[in-house]
Symmetry: C2
Subunit: 320 residues, 2 copies
């Protein structure tokens, strides 16, 4: 079961292997937000996203002879690198329309790639069949205890780093796809910094968690939608992540694509970090001045979850 003990165990496994990412800030962003904005820069994690935490923890905990994973890209790279560092083979199932940089990087990290059609094929079925055929462990992208615990180590660091900044009460905005990062951080903060409350942030068109929190039950996204936030397109939260989110998270936030592109440029200018669209949604929500359930308080903490963006998309953001 995902709990603080599992997250502490994950932190022990990650020590010296995952990066302790910095909590960044800029007086210019504080001014836009009208409060202190503290940015947990997980784009600086190995393979450019928080996903390495969960992948490494799962590899260490399961010690498989090989691994299979399905992913739009960030989980794929994380599992590929973790497997390479552990010296075991990896097979990654990716949508054929994933960003070119994510496909190329996953291959370069030594993984065997299986591409599928996002509209017509079922990645869960493909992944499960491959794992069974080869006798490999399936490392799911979010709905898996070891993965949630690994992502939760981000929350342990936020608790410590926010404490060092004198911030004891604040919303913690977390980009949310399947909910592994949100659930993991929420569990860590419940135990270590109860004044910090997770709020999920999703892109328009993929706001299933925000709607689910209102409805009080797990809803899915309308199939066939498109978003520049390729990392946040899971059809719905998981059987393990949703109950945690429902119990611990505040009202969900939703941001539009234009705001995401503008914030990618602001992160470039003010924080000197590269964010992918899905990694920028929480910062976009923190800097938006309006909206239901808007943020209050003297400070807000933002998770900048990933930076694996194609050059052309960043160039577009810089023109915004």
């Amino acid at each position: 079961m995902s709990d603080i003990a599992a997250i502490e165990a994950a932190a022990g496994r990650l020590k010296g292997h995952a990066r302790r990412t910095p909590l960044l800030s800029s007086p210019f962003l504080d001014e836009i937000a009208g409060r202190r904005v503290l940015v947990k820069a997980e784009c600086l994690q190995h393979t450019g996203a928080f996903k390495f935490r969960g992948a490494w923890n799962a590899l260490c905990a399961l010690a498989p002879k090989g691994v299979v994973a399905f992913s739009s890209g960030n989980h794929a790279q994380a599992v590929a690198l973790a497997a390479r560092l552990k010296g075991v083979p990896s097979v990654i199932v990716m949508p054929a329309d994933a960003p070119a940089i994510k496909i190329a990087n996953t291959r370069a990290l030594g993984a065997e790639l299986v591409l599928y059609d996002r509209e017509k094929e079922d990645r869960d079925a493909i992944g499960a069949a491959l794992a069974s055929e080869r006798g490999f462990a399936l490392i799911k992208p979010f709905d898996m205890e070891e993965v949630i615990a690994g992502q939760g180590t981000t929350g342990l660091e936020i608790a410590e780093q926010a404490g060092a900044e004198g911030v004891a009460g604040a919303d913690v905005l977390v980009p949310c796809g399947g909910g592994g990062l949100s659930a993991g951080i929420a569990l860590a903060l419940e135990a270590r910094a109860p004044g910090l409350r997770v709020r999920t942030v999703e892109p328009e068109g993929f706001d299933d968690v925000a709607r689910s929190l209102v409805a009080g039950r797990a809803l899915g996204n309308v199939p066939g939608g498109a978003s520049i936030c390729d990392a946040l397109m899971a059809p719905q939260a998981g059987a393990l992540t949703w109950p945690v989110i429902q119990r611990l998270c505040g009202p969900g936030l939703v941001v539009g694509e234009d705001a995401v592109l503008r914030v990618m440029a602001l992160a470039h200018d003010r924080l000197k970090i590269v964010l992918e669209p899905g990694g920028a949604v929480a910062l976009a929500a923190a800097l938006a001045s309006t909206g239901a359930g808007s943020i209050e308080g003297e400070a807000v903490i933002v998770v900048a979850s990933g930076g694996n963006v194609d050059r052309a998309v960043m160039a577009r953001a810089l023109e915004s």
Copy 2:
């Protein structure tokens, strides 16, 4: 006098005020370089460059009623922020052709700006006259003990972080304009990690230190030159920095503009950090395969000294 005691004193003043920046890496960069590449990401420092270290140390040590500084931009922003945090006024003398983002940021940080013509006017004379008129302290960009000691704290962190990575012997490539960062790091490493040797890196056309190291005496740059590396255009090393560089640094390295732009894009892709041209020269040298005095050994450490780049220049790099 700049020595390890002064650097340790600066580290005490910076604790809790300057950021301890991470040492980043990527297996993709290691492959290009043919060795481990460890990148000290000073672009993540407050105001986007290492300069905050020296400015903060000087403000703390001198405790003036106000400050004057001249700078192409990064030192300007650093002094402006440090003065604002200390609650004293700042007057900044900047070239009228400095990058727009550096001029705008310096003004937004509360400084009074005095723009001058780089070709026709003497910034030293303007700065000295302003300081004398107002009774403010002049915080020089590099040739000042307190500033060199502040920049040297980067070297203390490199010594610790390289040790944690198991790297005891390596070249440490440092972008070099007036030599404050190079001299400060070299003094810190001499005392704390003698197996690490600083090597200055300069852009073509501003390679005075590389030529000076060959000649055995301080030479200047040819006036009137242009470079995209606006942070590294000092006419020559300082009276305080040059003797330290001559005593402690290995052969200087020089890189061209095309290599700098390519490496800015690679830092975007692989490290998720934003580098300005002058901040990218050391990484460019680390990834170049040829050249006199080229790098040897199993690892190389690179200082990524700043990230204050206009969006248009980054967009140009991303097209390279």
